[in-house]
Structure formats: structure tokens, C-alpha cells
Amino acid sequence: MSLDARVAVWQFITAIGTYAAYLWLLFDRAGDGPLVDTAYGDLVAWTVGGGLVVTIIGSIAIAIAGGRSGRLTDMRDKQIARLADAVGASFVTIGGMAALILAIVEVDHFWIGNVIYLAFVTSGLLSSLARIVMHRFGVPSW
């Protein structure tokens, strides 16, 4: 597995882990009370920030563990990353549109914030998954 593929797997695991941690902390904080009244901003900040740090540290560790040849990336990796980013970007757009609609119908800001966060997580997951799939099964050509 190339460095880019291993990092994609790590990013996928980290994204799932941090969002699961966010949901667990959110529901724990909400307790028996209404979810929309639960403070979520600090949880988003900590899980996003923590996720970034864990992803970066893990990626560096994977690169170091791979040795000199394991750190090499080439045009195929870049091509896969570009295509995967395009896949992930679609969900940022969908999330933005969903948040806009929720704002127009004046839904509680809790849901708007969480829809945006979920869109970012979904975008990251799909982007990582697309990279893993293209590394494993091939890059589509047109």
C-alpha cells in the first residue's frame, strides 16, 4: 500500500472516531434534556481540532514508518487525490445548501451547525473512501 493509501485509511478512521466521539459527548451532555438546548460549539471545536492533530501526527508517523521508499508519492497519487477531493467537495455543497434551507425555514441554530459539521465529516469520509477505492481498484479513465 502506498503512503497516500495508508494516509487515506488513517484519515477515514480518524474522521469516524472523532465524529463518534463528538456524538457520544453531545448525547452525554444532553442527558435527558432537549438536544437543541445542548451547548455544542466547544465540542465541535475540540473534536475538529483534535481530529486534525491526530490526523497530522498519524500521517507523519505512517510516513516515517514507511522508510524512504514508503514516503514516495507520484502523479498517480496526485491524480487520485484530486479526483477524491472532487467527490468530497460535493458534500460540502450539499451541506451548505441544506444549512441554507434550514436557516430560511428558521430551524434552531443547533441543527444548522450540526448539518454543516455532518457535511464536513461526510465529505472527509467520502474523500478518504474514494482514495482507498481508487488505490485498490484503479483510477477511472475517460
Binding site: M1, S2, L3, A5, S69, L72, T73, D74, M75, R76, D77, H135, F137, G138, V139, P140, S141
Partner: protein, 72 residues
């Protein structure tokens, strides 16, 4: 379905060149071994530049390495 219909003889050419490994070919081209493996298995179409470089490593013409089958 394979992502590319371009066929290649890289494996046969490696074997004909003293059993050159995928890693050795990758080093000669400055790409990853995984990329050579993907090209060999038809999972990735290399750029024209890399295709020419592969042919040069084996000292053959481009169409002795790659082939686009009729009707593809």
C-alpha cells in the same frame, strides 16, 4: 471492468530484462512500486511521458509496450 482498456507487456518485458522487479522499474522511473503494479494490471493509464519513459527503460518503442485493442 478494468479502469483502462490499454493493454501492456510490462511484465513480460521485465522478465526479459533479467527479471527486473517492479521496484527496480519504479526506481528507474521515479514512481512508486504500486503505480507500476497498477499499470501492469490495467488499473491505471500512465501519462504519455511515463509511457515513453517505460519504453526507454526497456529500449523498445512505445507500441511494443502498450497496445490499444481493436474495437475497444
Amino acid at each position: 471492468m478494468k479502469p483502462t482498456r490499454v493493454e501492456n507487456r510490462i511484465r513480460a518485458l521485465r522478465e526479459a530484462h533479467g527479471g527486473m522487479t517492479q521496484g527496480q522499474l519504479a526506481d528507474a522511473l521515479g514512481v512508486t512500486r504500486q503505480t507500476i503494479n497498477a499499470i501492469e494490471q490495467g488499473k491505471y493509464s500512465p501519462s504519455l511521458e511515463v509511457a515513453f519513459q517505460i519504453a526507454r527503460v526497456f529500449g523498445v518503442s512505445l507500441d511494443e509496450v502498450f497496445r490499444y485493442p481493436d474495437g475497444a
